[in-house]
Amino acid sequence: MNKLDRKLLRDLGQMKGQVIAIALVIAAGIAVFTMSMCAYASLKHGQTTFYRDFRFADVFSDARRCPDAVLERLQSIEGVTTVESRLMFNVLLDVPGLKEPATAKLISIPDSGESRLNQVYISRGRMVEPNRRGEVVVSEMFAEAHEFVPGDTVTAVINGKSQRLTIVGIALSPEFVIQIQGGSMLPDKKRFGIFWMSRRDLEAAFDMSGAFNNVTAKLAYGANSKHVIDAMDHLLEPYGSIGAYDRSENVSHQFVNDELLQLKTMATIAPSIFLSVAAFLLNIVITRIITKQREQIAALKAFGYSNLEVGLHYLNLVLIIAIGGMVLGTGFGIWMAAELTEMYQGFYKFPLLKMQIHRSAILIALLLTTTITVIGTWLAVRKAIRLPPAEAMRPEPPPDYRPTVIERFFPTQLLPAALRIVVRNVQRKPFKSAASVVGIAMSIAVLVLGAFSLDALDYLIEFQFRKAQRQDLTVGFVEPATASVIHEISDLDGVLESETTRSVATRIRFGHRSRRIGILGLEPSPQLFRLLSESGQSINIPGHGVTLNSKLAEILGCELGDFVMVEVLQDERPVVQLEVTAIVDEYGGINAYMAKHQVHEMLKESAVASGAFLKVDPNKLDDVYRELEMRPGVANVSTKEASIKSFKDTVAENMLTMRAFNIMFAIVIAIGVVYNSARISLSEQSRDLATMRVIGFTRREVSAVLLGEIGLFTMLAIPLGCFIGWSLAWILITGLATENYRIPLIIDTSTYAFAVAVVMGATLASGFIVQRRISNLDLIGVLKTRD
C-alpha cells in the first residue's frame, strides 16, 4: 500500500462518525433501489413465466349462451392461434365456519382434463376427473383462507340446488393471480374463490350442453388485439356477448401491473432523494477536508505528487465512502427484496415466485453512486487539483464577513453577540445553509411520504365505504329480478332499507376512445349508495344523460356537457347518444351511472333489478345471509364490512412494514445531515468556540453557538419538509393513479407532527453527540495556533 493510500485510510478513520453517517444515507437510497428493482424482477419473472407456461389468454369474452359450432369460426379469426370455450358461473357457497355466504366462480375444465388456455397449476392434490361428479379444484388463496385440504367438502347452491362439492386439488391460475370479485375494489380471499369443475358437471347443472358462455383466445405474436376483439364481438353478438376485452381489463393482470408500476416509481424516487442528500454531504465533508489539508496538499505537490494524484487521492476518499454505502445498501436491498417477495406470496399467487437478483440493477446502482459522488464533489476536488503549491503553503486568508442584506431588514443588534455569530455564519454560506435545510427537510418529507398512505387509506375507506356506500350487503341476481322478487327481499326480517339497481353492459365511446363499462342505474336520490363530490357532498343523479366518474371521463377525454355514444351490449343492443350531465369523484374503479328509470326506458323493459343494496339489522345479519343463500335467483352477496376488514388486514400490515423502513431511512437522513453539518461547523469554528471558552463562556453557551445553526436549519426545514412531503405524495399518487385505485392526497396533521417529532429527535440526538466534543476542545492549543 502506498503512503498516500495509508493517509487516506487514516483520514477516514479520523472521521469515522461522518463516514458511517454518509454511507448509511447512500445505503438507504441504494437499498430501496435494489429492493424495488429485485422485487420488480421477481414479480415480472413470476408473471412472465406463469403467463407463458400456463398459456394465459390474450382476449376474453363472455356470452349468454353460444352454440359450440361458433367456436370454429372464432378459431378462424385472423391473428387467433388458439381458442377455447368455457362455462363460467358465479354461485353462492356455504362454507363451514363462515357466517356470510361466499361466492365461487365455477370454471369448466374440458373433459380432456387439461385446458388449452389459462391452464391451472395444481399445487396440491389432483385435477378433477371428468367422469366423477361433484369434484372441484379450489384456488389456493381461498383454500388457504379456509385451511381447506384435498378431501374436504363445501356446499354450493348451484342453479337453486344445494350440492356437495369435494375438493380434490388446490390450484393457481394465471388468470387469477389475485382474486377480486367483479365490481369489488378489494380482494377478499375468504369470500371469493375460483372453483374448477369438469365441463360435464357444469353442463348438466346449468343445462348448457353443446353451448358455452365464455371464450378465451391466444393471439399470434404481433396480432392486433383490437381487430380480433371486433371480429369476436361481431360473431358473438347474437349470443349475448357483452363485448370482448384484452388482458388490460383483467383485474388480476391490472393489480400485478399496478404493483410493478409502483415498484418502478419507488426505484426512481428513493435514490433521487437519498443520493442527492448524500452528494451534498460528501461535498461539504470533502470541501472541509481540503480546506484543512491545504498545507498538506502544498507539501505533497512540493514533493512532486502530480495534480492528478492529489485529485484522485481526494476522489478516492469520497468514493470509498460512497461505494461502501452502496455495497451495504445492495446487501440490505436484496434482503428487503427477499422479504417483500415473501410478502407478495401471500398476496399474489404464482407457482414460482422466486426472488430474482437483478444483476444489472446492481451495476446501475454502482454507476449511479459513482456518478453522483463525482458530480457532488467535483468542484471541491478541482480546488485541490488547481491549488498552486506556493499559495497552499500560506494559510487560507481569513474569511471575509460583511453585514448582509438580511441584516438591513432584520437588525441583529437585537441579538446577543454570540447569536450574531450564528446568523453571520448561515448567511456567509448560503448554498451550504440552504442545502442543509433542504437535506433536513428531505428527511421530514421521506417520513411524510412513508406515513401518509395509511391516512389516505383510512380516508379512502371512510369516503368510499362509509360516506358513499352505506349498505351492509350487495346482492346480485342471476337474471333481472321482477318487482315481486325485490319485495320478497326487502321484506326479509332484518332488512332495514333496500335500494335496487339495474346494471347494463355497454360500450361508451367518445371520439376514437371507447371503454367497455357496466352502467349502473340507481334509484332517484339513493341513500345507501350515494354519489359524492370531492368535498363529500351528495350528488343527485340527473334525470337525463349519463354520470361518469372522473377517471372514466379522463380516459374517454370528455367533459361535462359532451355527448357520448352508449352502445348497449345486451338484449336489443340499442345505441344512444347521452349527454355527460355529471362527473363524480371516486377513488376506485371506472364507473358510469344513470337514473334507473332511464335504463329501463333505454332497454324498453319494466322496472326490473339486477341487484340490490341492503341495510341490515346487525343482529339479524346471519338470518338474512341464510335466507339469501337459499334463493335461486341470487348470484352473489357481498358484505362490505368483512371485505374492508380482510383488505385492511393484508394491506395495512404491508403498509406498516414499509412505514417502519421509511422511519428508519428518514432517521438515517436526518442524522446524516445534522451530524455532518454540526461536525463541519465544529471543525470550522473550533478555534472561535475554544476562544470563547477561554474568555469565559460556559460550555452550554458555546454549545448554543454551535448548535444554534443546526437548530435554525431544523426550524426552517420543518415547513419546507412538510411542503416537499406533500408535493412528493402528490407526485407519487398521480404516478400511481390506476383504473383500480386512486389514492387521495390526504395527509393528517398527526402525520406531519410525527414526521417533525422524529426529525427533531434525530436532530437533538446528533446535536448531543457533537456537543459532547465541545468538552474536548483544545483550549490551550488554540491560543498558540493560527488556525
Partner: protein, 242 residues
C-alpha cells in the same frame, strides 16, 4: 516602582511549588518543575523565557485554563487548584482578560461586536465604545477582523479583554505576530491599560527587549524560575526597540 512599594501590596496570585507534567504518548514532558511565585496588585509583569521554558504553562495555570500536576495556586482567597472546571470558567469570565498571539477575534463579528461578546456576559462591563477608545479604535468599530490590520486586530483583542474590567490581564506573546512598529503600539496600549485601570498585567514574551517596560521581570528556563528582576525605572513602550 520601588521594592518596598511592591511588598506592601496585596498578592493577587500566590503559586506555591507548582509542577506540570504532560504525558505525550510515551514521553513525559516536565513543563514546570516546582515554581513558586507571587503577582501583586496593579503590577506589570513580564514573563521572559525561551520556547519550552514553561512560561505559557504558567500563564495558562494562572488564567484557569490548565491545572498543575502538583502544588497550589491561589487567586486572592480562591484556591484555583481546588476549583471545578465550571468554577474556572466563571473565574475566567469574571476576573481574567486574555490577549493571544494570534488575536483570536471572531471573524464573523465586527470590532465592536467582538467587545460586546464580553460585555454582554460580564457583571460590570464598560461601554464597548469606551473600551475601543482606550485602544484608540473607536472609528474602526464597525469593521470586521478581515478589514483590520494585525495591530488593529490585536488592539481590538485588548479592548475585548479589558471591557469586563478584569482584575488581571494575561497576554501571551501579544506582539509575536506583529512587526516592531505595530508591536510597540500594542504594548503602549497594554501599558496604558495597566496605568489607567490598575489592572494586574502579565505579558509573556521571548523578546528580552520588552522586559524594560515591566515592574518586574520573571525569567523562566527549563520549567524553573531562573531569576526575578525588579526594574527601578520602567522604560516607556515607545522607547523600546528590537
Amino acid at each position: 516602582m520601588s521594592q518596598s512599594a511592591t511588598q506592601t501590596r496585596e498578592a493577587v496570585f500566590r503559586a506555591t511549588e507548582i509542577t506540570k507534567t504532560y504525558v505525550m504518548g510515551e514521553v513525559k514532558v516536565h513543563a514546570l518543575r516546582g515554581v513558586s511565585v507571587e503577582l501583586y496588585e496593579k503590577e506589570f509583569i513580564v514573563l521572559l523565557g525561551a520556547s519550552g521554558s514553561g512560561k505559557s504553562t504558567l500563564l495558562n495555570i494562572l488564567g484557569g485554563l490548565d491545572v498543575p500536576t502538583s502544588g497550589s495556586v491561589y487567586y486572592e482567597n480562591t484556591e484555583l487548584t481546588a476549583s471545578s472546571p465550571s468554577d474556572l470558567t466563571m473565574y475566567r469570565r469574571e476576573h481574567v482578560g486574555f490577549v493571544f498571539q494570534f488575536y483570536n477575534l471572531i471573524p464573523s463579528l465586527t470590532a465592536k461586536e467582538n467587545v460586546e461578546l464580553i460585555t454582554e456576559i460580564a457583571a460590570d462591563p464598560m461601554d464597548p465604545m469606551d473600551a475601543l477608545a482606550l485602544v484608540k479604535l473607536e472609528d474602526r468599530a464597525d469593521h470586521f477582523p478581515a478589514q483590520l490590520s494585525g495591530g488593529e486586530q490585536q488592539r481590538v483583542a485588548i479592548a475585548r479583554a479589558i471591557a469586563k474590567r478584569p482584575e488581571v490581564l494575561l497576554c501571551d506573546e501579544p506582539t509575536g505576530a506583529l512587526d516592531v512598529k505595530t508591536g510597540i503600539v500594542v504594548l503602549e496600549a497594554i501599558a496604558h491599560i495597566n496605568r489607567e485601570l490598575g489592572t494586574t498585567t502579565a505579558v509573556i514574551t521571548h523578546n528580552a527587549a520588552i522586559a524594560g517596560m515591566a515592574d518586574r521581570v520573571i525569567s523562566l528556563s527549563d520549567g524553573q524560575i531562573s531569576g526575578i528582576k525588579t526594574n527601578e525605572t520602567k522604560i516607556d513602550a515607545s522607547q523600546l526597540a528590537w
